[in-house]
Amino acid sequence: MSPREIFALRDHLGAELKGRTISDAHDVVSLTDILSHTVLGGRLRELSGRAVLLKLSDQLRSGLAMIELDGIARRMLLCPPDLNPAHLDALIADAGIDAVVTDEPDRWADTCVPLVVVARLPLQVIAPAKSERATEWLMLTSGTSGVPKIVGHTLEALTGAIVAEGPARGQAPVWATFYDIRRYGGLQIFLRAVLSGGSMVLSDPHESLADHVARLKARGVSHISGTPSHWRKLLMSGSAAQFAPAYVRLSGEIADQAVLDGLKAAFPNASVGHAYASTEAGVGFAVNDGLEGFPADYLGNRNGVEMKVTDASLRIRSARTAHAYVGRNAAALTDADGFVDSGDIVELRGDRYYFVGRRGGIINIGGLKVHPEEIEAVINRHPDVRMSRAKSRRSPITGGIVVADVILTEGTDQARAKEIRDQILEHCRAQLASHKVPAVIRFVEALDVTPAGKLARTDV
């Protein structure tokens, strides 16, 4: 019996497509002849069969190292830039790491990791390597305090949704994302760029939004993805006017009607879609009808993704979900039937399901459970509101009340603040139970967004 054919990232990168690049704010690297180049100083052989920690300070070398390592390393653990260094030792132990790819070799000189390989640009010429095995991709969960969980994927699971959609029609897309590609949402875009025969423009945390947008435009970005918070920031910045992508994608947070409508208005010629995905559950589905939520008939088995709602949360079973949490004390990732509990609470209204919030994000208002996202969605529907955050505040009378911080759209006359506040409260009273109506609305200039691109829900 012949072994199952191994299909690694390099096997998606034929040389037939010319002019493909991956770039950041400093460098442009050709993807066309990437297979005969190395970012690892020609030391790929030494990493064969190893459990490799990918700990680099930039996305460009990280992406190039992923292309090189996939199919050669036994597993690779992607470290997002905001990883707390205090958690590294625990992650190294749990993932059985025995090699690190880094740009800071001095930091690894006296550690228990036996093999240290430096990733550097410019690339060096090398004989192309051949895929040897199906590498396990390890990613970290975001958003929790404490040591993040390690989530195990295969390339097949990670690319399931991309393969199912088929190749992009027409000109090869130029992809970009506001995410970091070492997070699930960003990795999806990087993999799309590699598999679609297109190019990829990476974000840079030190770049201003205006400079970033100028670069997206200069590189001809046609397809771009980010969280609703990323997009709201772009809409607020006034930089969107110079940019005209063909496809705008949202994921990672609830895409409410206000942000979908705002993007449609800002990019009238683009198709705007929101995707549902998480590090654990993989890509569930994409919604392209311009409406928030998703059609109720998405439940059941659809394109190989099975979804159901149990205890109000969305559960997903498919070949695209992660296969396990990795580590000594790792919990089970799926239930006995193989479903991942997304922790995302949905509500059926008419023939559509709407996301109301995260199970773990509930705030307690006088003993009643409230999802802040549900309140924000109503506030955001006001035409003069760009972004909002609802949270609880201690109250000596009821224990807790809802308060909301609101950013008005750019150019709103401050003299109208009281009128707008009254209108928001009126909308909230009409659409929400009385304990969910904000007691206090504050107008603010900015709201914090986490490094993972999500609205920060705890004050630092």
Partner: protein
Amino acid sequence: MSVRSKVIEAIQQIAKEQNVTLPELSDDLSLHETGFDSLAFAILVARLEDEIGVDPFTISEDAAFPATVGDFVRAYANVPA
């Protein structure tokens, strides 16, 4: 604006929002008779904290919640802002 007029104005604003018809706000009026429920009072205390800078009911643990409108206004008037 005096503390008293700030408190009265906030009460009237919340009454309007909550569709509560207020009786005349004399000092002797019991808070119960204002028609406010506990949520309305929670909103009132939160807004006055933002407006005046104090929440007299959290500062002092043994402060009994006032019984009348007059007591309520005095709770704010007596706290140095």
